[in-house]
């Protein structure tokens, strides 16, 4: 590499460190997009939002055997203001919905979100009065990781997909800087009728109210 002080090499200017290129091989040219995305993708700081058994698998992912630190996620932050990627692991009840929304809004741009597990992504088996049917109705989600709970390999695969997504982002894209605002009347990112349509009863759960008069 050329970016070494040339004081060790014989220099016409004596005793002054010269950081100039020694030869043409010392120059690296690149796109700024690539460089910034490369840096962002490989130093993501996750903010775990663990509410259920998925959080246990998340801990296994972060622990020594699967070692999330290999992907630049060395620093596990429990403060949303110093985090890049929100990993929501577990079911989210309606009571926690304003909390999750607040945490997401506190995170600085650019930021990403991973929905880990069936419950966070769709409500899962908890098709009840108390559980949010997919956290993408509260915050925008980049990667959904299926599983109940997902194995650490699955979460790592989701993180690698997120890294791939980050590598394709463009600095000129305004979505990286502008906060997405919810609809002021309904406080939702998705139109209300679309949410109702998506959470229609399906499968066996149409029989759930058989005890009602």
């Amino acid at each position: 590499m050329g970016l070494i002080p040339s004081s060790s090499a014989p220099s016409p200017v004596k005793e002054i460190a010269n950081f100039g290129p020694i030869s043409e091989e010392g120059w690296v040219t690149t796109r700024l997009d690539f460089l910034v995305n490369w840096g962002r993708a490989n130093s993501l700081w996750p903010m775990p939002f663990g509410t259920a058994c998925c959080a246990i698998e998340f801990m296994a992912t972060a622990a020594s055997k699967f070692d999330l630190a290999r992907f630049g996620m060395e620093r596990m932050g429990f403060s949303p203001r110093q985090a890049d990627v929100l990993i929501c692991a577990g079911r989210v009840p309606f009571k926690l919905a304003p909390v999750l929304r607040r945490i997401w809004q506190q995170m600085p741009q650019p930021k990403w979100a991973i929905s880990m597990g069936a419950c966070a992504s769709t409500g899962g088996m908890f098709d009840t009065y108390a559980v949010v049917q997919g956290i993408d109705t509260i915050i925008p989600i980049d990667v959904y990781v299926p599983g109940c709970p997902p194995r650490p390999e699955a979460l790592i695969y989701g993180i690698m997909m997120l890294q791939k997504k980050i590598m394709h982002e463009q600095m000129s894209s305004k979505t990286l800087r502008n906060e997405m605002q919810p609809d002021p009347r309904s406080q939702l990112y998705i139109p209300p009728d679309r949410i109702d349509e998506l959470s229609e009863p399906f499968g066996n759960s149409v029989h759930q109210t058989r005890s009602a008069p």
Partner: protein
């Protein structure tokens, strides 16, 4: 070598084990007969199942019965382990409110029940003034069943959020998904401000110190760190 561990055994009583207990019948808790003798007409009926005694009490007498069970030296039920309610699928059957009492001194367990007709307002007396631990238990029963506890100092929802508008989820007529549409539920939930409910004064133990009981104040200010 320390002394071998011995189980305290009251004279003349054999410890009851879960093994050879009959499904129905068997030795009843002597407190059941004692209640019937102390409060004539208060006990509707009682039965024993799996070694546990259940006493159905008249609603108006419940508070007196619990007070007596707590205070009387021969009963000495120091511990209220649960307050809950039951609703049966058969709509004609009344609802039941259940109190689980435990006497650590006499090693007894007693279940009290009050039947509530659904046609009348669901209200029972609170036992908060006897057992302070009834506070959250009664709030949970109110939250889930909508049963009011007369005399409770702060009867509001505990598990569900304050702005939950859809009723009481453990009632049989409550649909599992709730009554509102998903989008409406989400909008209601997001409009709640979880920080607005509690002031910093409420959360600060320094400000709440004056309201603590005397013995707890003495323990917090003293050197003792053993707890209760």
């Amino acid at each position: 070598m320390s002394a071998p561990f011995t189980i305290y055994q009251p004279a003349g009583e054999q410890p009851s084990t879960p093994k050879n207990l009959p499904h129905k019948g068997g030795a009843a808790n002597p407190s059941a007969a004692a209640i019937a003798a102390q409060f004539p007409g208060a006990v509707l009926r009682s039965h024993v199942m799996w070694g546990e005694t259940t006493v159905f009490v008249e609603q108006s007498k419940l508070h007196d019965v619990v007070q007596w069970l707590h205070d009387d030296a021969a009963q000495c039920y120091e511990y209220l382990s649960d307050v809950t309610a039951v609703e049966y699928r058969d709509a004609a059957q009344p609802m039941e409110v259940v109190w689980h009492l435990r006497s650590i001194k006499h090693r007894r367990f007693l279940r009290l029940k009050v039947q509530l007709a659904k046609t009348e307002p669901l209200e029972v007396p609170s036992v908060w003034d006897i057992y302070k631990g009834a506070d959250w238990l009664e709030r949970e029963t109110f939250d889930m069943f909508g049963i009011k506890f007369a005399g409770h100092p702060d009867l509001r929802r505990i598990l569900l959020w304050e702005s939950f508008q859809e009723g009481h989820p453990l009632r049989k007529d409550f649909p599992l998904r709730g009554r509102l549409s998903r989008a409406q539920q989400l909008t209601n939930a997001l409009s709640a401000n979880p920080e607005a409910r509690y002031s910093m004064e409420e959360l600060s133990i320094a400000d709440a110190f004056e309201e603590l009981p005397l013995d707890m104040r003495a323990r917090l200010t003293g050197d003792s760190r053993t707890g209760e």
